[in-house]
Structures are given as C-alpha cells and as structure tokens.
Amino acid sequence: MASQRKAIALISGGLDSMLAAKVVLEQGIHVEGINFFTGFCVEGHTHAIRKQDKAKPKRNNALWVAEQLGIKLHIVDVIEPYKTVVINPRHGYGANLNPCLDCKSFMVGKAYEWIQQHGFDFIITGEVMGQRPMSQLKHVMPVVQRESGAGDLLVRPLCAKKLPPTLPEREGWLDRGKLFDFSGRSRKPQMALAEKFGITEYAQPAGGCCFLTDAYYAKKLADLWQSRGSRDYELDDIMLLKVGRHLRPRPHFKLIISREEGETNFLEGYRRSFTHLRTLSHGGPLALVDGETSHDDLVLTAQLVARYSQGRDTGQVDVAIHHKNGEIEQISVTPLKPDEIPEDWHI
C-alpha cells in the first residue's frame, strides 16, 4: 500500500481554511495546520488588551479550528521576515495598507519551506475564487503559485475545479472529483459544506485577518512612517498602534492616551521607554509621549491629558510628567476644551 500522503494547511481561524483542511482530511490525507504570526494578526492581543472585550471568548481561533479538526497546529513567528512584505510590497496595497497578494505568496512560500524541512507532500489554502481580498482573483492565483515557489504543490480545495489540476490531483493523491468550484462573494456554498460536515460554530472575521485592512490602523501606521521619515517598524511600534487614542498636536511628537483600564494596564508595560503623564488630582488616563518635546510641548500634552481625565470640566488639573531619566515634574494645567483640539490632531 502506498504510504499516506501528508499536507500542511494554512489555518487562519476562519471558516474557509477550516473547510479546505477538512475536505483534504476526508480524502485520507494526513493534515497538519500552520499559522503565521505577523504581529498584525487580529487574534489574541486585542482581546487581551481591552477590558470591554473581556466578555468575548479569548480563544485563539486557529488553535480552536485545529482542535475541532483533530489536527496539530504549528504557529510560526514571522514578525521579522514579514516586514519586507509590509514595507515594500511588490504588488502594492489593497484598500488600506494590506499587501494581500505579497502576503499570500509570502505565507505559501514559508509553508513551502516548511514542507521541505518536514517531509510533507503539499500545501492547502482556503482560497475561494473571486472573493476579496485581491489575492483571490482568478488572474492572480498563478502569481501566488509562482512567487511562493510552491508551484503546483499548492492546492485550493474549495476552488480547485476552476483551476488547472495540481500535482496531488494528477498523481491521484487527491480525487479532483471530490474537490470544489466555489467562486464569488456568496458564502452559501461554504455554509452548506460546513453543515454537511456538521460544523456549526466558526469565527466570522469581518474585513480581513489582520489590522492592515483596518482604515484607522493603516492611518496610524502611515503616520508613524511619515513622522520618522522611514518606512520601518518594530513589534512594539505596531502593538502600540492597536491601543489608545493617538493624537499628534505637533509634527515632532504624538501622544498615546489610554481609553480604559485594560489599555492603561497595557501601556504600563511600555511607560519606562517613554516620557509619560498621569493626572494626580483626578482619575485619568496614562499617556505616553512618542517623540522629543520641549517644555511648552509638555504643557500642551498635560492639558490634553487633563481633557481626557475626570477633571475635564474643572478649572485646574494636577498632572505628573515622568521624564525618561526618572525625574518627575508636577504641573497644574487648565484642561483643553473640545473645540481647542483640532480634528486633524487625531490620527
């Protein structure tokens, strides 16, 4: 008897990749999952940070999907190599700063390296023809195969019948007749297939699988690049973009102000690397100052922080400014009024 073939499935945590893996499992293939952590993933962090999200399940959807399917899951940290994808995408960006086509080729490429190292035979993704994002349009499907290096070891079980047969199909490892021809925006075929497999619960990611598709997030990242004069980032930078109110009153500095307790706790972890402010006379947020500031700049930041404190309607709020060298300065300021905060300060 021929030895059992092995496939690695890209698992995002959503329904499509779950179904794709299931379709191949049903054909007697040994399937394991792989999930890439880019730093921009919506998973995990946001739940952990914001207190208001605490009621929602904090599970990692990719792990949850793997458990439902009864497969192993390998989570790979690609934070460093992914930077080139975000900073300089060959095929450009989608609606926001999402480099979907380059991203897909990158991930399939990483999966291709993985199967070579681990003796697996092919790769599965949950792509459906003609669906958003742009990496799923018909004419770009071969681009991912080519640029990832995976060639026809890349199988998309949900739309395979609309594409030329891949090696696993030609070799008879997979029965092409039992693969699918899903296309378009309708989710009905996926839902019907889920029902057939008895899958009743699944995550419905709105928009996309990462923060780069979020207009507000993309604006903050673009602002970060512009203010630094270079398109680069560290993990801490992109984590901080997920948290708080970001205001840039002057080109050379911005403020990150927590909006609730969960965010304050999160920012606490970063405060030593930043000049930061707290209100003393009233309850209020924690604010980090990113950039170099003069004394006048700090007075302005204190007035802004006072505006977001419980003393906003009083004449005066005491604020402590913690300098990076450990010195603490205490000042009393008048909170800014809403009409004194121009709209374009908000990033």
């Binding site: 998973e43 952990a48 989570i75």
Partner: protein
C-alpha cells in the same frame, strides 16, 4: 525526566504559545516545562495547544496576574 523553565511574561498571545511550542520541540518525552506568563489568553491557548499536540497539563495557576502552567511532554512528532 528533566525540568525546564520558560519566561513568557509581558508578551501577548500568541507569543507565549509560540515560545512554548519552540521550547517543547527541543525536549524529550517525560520532560516538564514550567511556563510563566502574564497574558490571561495563555490560560486558554497553552492548554489547547498542549491538547492538540498530545502533551499534558500538570498544573495551572493564576496568582495575582502571574500565570504558571506546567506541561509534561508526551506527544512527539513533526
């Protein structure tokens, strides 16, 4: 059987799971790994990761925001 420790404090999920996974990769069956972390998401994710990879959770505690999880390595493989 050997005992190992992993400090995964002040990093957010899924990083504690990734660090755990990478540490376990170098261990032998029967070894024990104590993971210390601060993200409550780990209370959910590390046991799930352990279950799907065939490892056993021996102990899990959450003391004043410091989470300790002890894993016994069982399943081996890719």
């Amino acid at each position: 059987m050997s005992e190992y420790h992993l400090d995964a404090r002040n990093i957010l999920c899924p990083l504690p799971v990734i660090r755990t996974q990478n540490a376990v990769q170098n261990l032998q069956k029967g070894d024990r790994l104590t993971v210390i972390c601060t993200d409550p998401g780990a209370l959910h994710d590390i046991p799930t990761w352990s279950r799907i990879n065939g490892h056993r959770i021996l102990e899990m505690k959450n003391d004043n925001k410091l989470i300790t999880i002890i894993i016994e390595v069982e399943g081996l493989g890719s």
